[in-house]
Homo-oligomer: 458 residues x 2
């Protein structure tokens, strides 16, 4: 049943693996807006960022002209543990759908953290170690980033302190245990261990937490402790840079067999996976060399792109972080408690936000029952149990493939399968038991949350 000329799974040889990350911003005409100091409303300087971020990462964060950053050899060694990740032809899914479309997925779940997050975690841990730090603090929502970071810190012998959104902490005790296996400490957020946590708990005693709140706590703890810095698993420019390894590998694998995709699809929470996957392809589009359709898929319960506002906003609930210009639902936005998995951040990568604003990519939202239907179908035919996050991309890949079935077009669709769902079986159980809700925020709820946006004179 397979095309003998093209392997079913395309693996790159070790010498074909990327030796540099690609900085998409270098090719953008309209650069993403700079981070602003909330007090002065002026662009954050390197000096202002030093208490929070590692020095080398600040350089990467602020540099929008250098196109390639060499990947240090120690990081490339670590990448070899689990990379290159396979680019898989979804033959079984195509057959099941009866579509003439050719579907490929880049599978990033083949490592213990279970997702693509490790690509940036190991880079951030490396630079923290290089700077002689003792440890790092971070937040985690669904737990993928926290797991990835704890693995990376264990590798470089760094202390790792994770603030985990309370609802996830309680629903996913095994995620916590994996982080402990790698030596991390895990605190449910909001907690009484930080000022901002105490403040939030006082105002909202029953809160189940949010990413924005956990970020505030992690940043506070990084500031408080000598030799610590804060690290973040998505949204930031530096993260998009590290995640470009996904897209670079995907492009190299496709180029090797002369395949040109028509549509590239990724789920979008903060944008790290999508930004990484599309980077080199978007670069070609920006340089006018080729054209592609890019589709960001977000949950209908947290629709930053499709129903948010493009404006400066706080990155966190406690308003301790710089302001970023992005599509946002307001930093107080908390998705319905029924929402399963990650993709629950109120904002979106400034890089992707700018590209979307400029009409260079599309976005769509899907309700979670449809997502889990796609997830289960995919699991049964392709044999991989997908994470809820990744299944947003599966849903839209299937929908696009079904459109091809109607029109008879043989489009080539590539999507990012960011991770596995082993720790999401509570959500699958709800789905099996018909207890999953498809709550969508009302216009009033979004308007109220967006009304908290800071006033910024651009």
């Amino acid at each position: 049943m397979f095309n003998e000329a093209i392997p079913y799974k395309i693996y790159l040889e070790e010498n074909e693996m990327p030796k540099a990350w690609y900085n998409l911003r270098a090719d953008m005409k309209n650069k993403p807006a700079p981070l602003l100091n909330p007090a002065t409303q002026k662009p954050m300087t390197k000096e202002e960022l030093r208490p929070v971020f590692c020095d080398a990462l600040i350089d990467q964060e602020l540099d929008d002209t250098t196109a390639y950053f060499p990947i240090p050899e120690e990081i490339r060694s670590f990448y070899q543990m689990y990379r290159p990740s396979p680019l898989v032809r979804a033959y079984f899914l195509e057959k099941k759908l009866g579509t003439p479309a050719k579907i490929y997925y880049k599978f990033e779940g083949n490592n213990t953290s279970g997702s693509h997050k490790l690509n940036s975690a190991i880079a951030q841990a490396y630079y923290a170690k290089q700077q002689g730090l003792k440890g790092v603090t971070t937040e985690t929502g669904a737990g993928q980033w926290g797991t990835a970071l704890s693995m990376a810190c264990s590798y470089f012998d760094l202390d790792c302190q994770v603030y985990m959104v309370k609802v996830s902490y309680e629903q996913k005790p095994f995620r916590r245990e994996v982080m402990r296996t790698y030596g991390a400490s895990v605190t449910p957020s909001p907690s009484m261990s930080t000022e901002v946590g105490r403040k939030i708990l006082e105002a909202h005693p029953g809160t189940t937490g949010s990413l924005g709140c956990a970020i505030s706590e992690a940043v506070e703890m990084a500031n408080k402790q000598e030799g610590y810095r804060y690290v973040l698993g998505s949204v930031l420019n530096q993260v998009m840079l590290h995640q470009s390894v996904i897209g670079l590998e995907t492009k190299a694998a496709l180029d090797k067999y002369g395949i040109t995709p028509d549509i590239i699809i990724g789920c979008a929470g903060g944008g790290s996976n999508l930004g990484g996957l599309i980077a080199p392809f978007m670069g070609e589009k920006l340089r006018g060399e080729k054209d592609y359709r890019f589709i960001a898929v977000e949950p209908a319960s947290c629709p930053s792109f499709t129903r948010g506002t493009f404006a400066y906003d706080f990155c966190d609930t406690g308003a301790v972080c710089p302001l970023a210009k992005m599509y946002t639902l307001g930093s107080n936005f908390i998705p319905s408690a029924n929402h399963a998995g990650g993709l629950r951040y109120h904002g979106m990568s400034p890089v992707l936000s700018q590209l979307y604003h400029d009409g260079l990519m599309e976005a769509t939202s899907v309700v979670q029952t449809d997502v889990f239907e796609a997830a289960e179908l995919f699991a049964r035919v392709e044999g991989i149990l997908p994470a809820p996050e990744s299944s947003h991309a599966i849903r839209v890949a299937i929908d696009e493939a079904l459109k091809c079935k109607e029109t008879g077009e043989e489009k080539t669709i590539v999507f990012g399968l960011t991770g596995t769902g082993y720790f999401d079986m509570f959500a699958y159980e709800k789905f099996h038991d018909g207890k999953m809700s498809d709550y969508i925020p009302t216009d009033e709820e979004i308007a109220e949350s967006v009304s908290t946006l800071p006033v910024v004179n651009e």
Copy 2:
């Protein structure tokens, strides 16, 4: 840090993948003893086995002369979803240990079932489908086999009824949910749905169940339902045959780079992984072409090889199955409730039992705290979270590598990393919290359990 001439992870090309399973029995001078009918004590005939097993599988079960069985194309297509599995050089572990030994592991956890069990599950489901059956019944202990079989049955649209050892059913709700995702029904065993289950519950109301008991229930249900047969994930000759794909791939990968292992190590519960991994190497040894050391590693809490008796015994607690000649602790043996994970079967593959009896392989047992220490070390340096079962092999691979450190020998060690530990975080938690017990059965306990062996006149 890597040897550029040999890839860090050796993947076979698709055209290098095995096209036939290897039947080790064909090269054995002392064949494993036949299954006996417990009533007549005569070898089970094909006709007698037909109500229980699929026809094609009976042929494979009883054939000890045909060396190679072609792998049907549909099974090879399915194998391509997750095979070839990588043979990984454990550079990071070697470095951590400071050993001159070269360690390789064959990683079978890269599929949603999380273990090697899928290799045989898909074969058994295929033959059941070929025979026009409606469905199959089976038992599962730690849950890996049940998960694998539910995936395989989903692929061929067969009904799948799983009897899951009660203690696992309760400790691993997520395992159950994965099986449901693939459409299987899961019943905790012993249950009131079978005669044998009711009998066992009456005699031992508080029992947490055992594999032997779940087997009895599954066999009874296969007999009771039109169009159903029973399938088993280990112990049987047919399973060893299917699992030979592990060893064949391993050998092809090593041969490709001219590497000859000195020691081959695998964990052993019923023997499916170990039997598969060593098959082609043991074949060379049996034919006098090469020599290798083979080490079976079993839990000290269920030590069939190292403390069992080589004799005919029941394969199940309810004594509804044929008798098999094997190393056994007695069909009533139940490992301590503290024992984590699988490897809890009272007996051992008749093929491996015969080889062990003939001095062709070694066996050793390890306590579980030592196993989890090895597991955590491995997770931290190699980045894969291993299953408790697999970690038995890791433990002994580390011990052998440390011996090399003392002697300065550059031995090549290959071990089977059968699966991932995502569903075993309860056990990891116990380990982290210092609550893991290393209970070892007393001589009296084993003597009592072995005293139930049937009297067979060979």
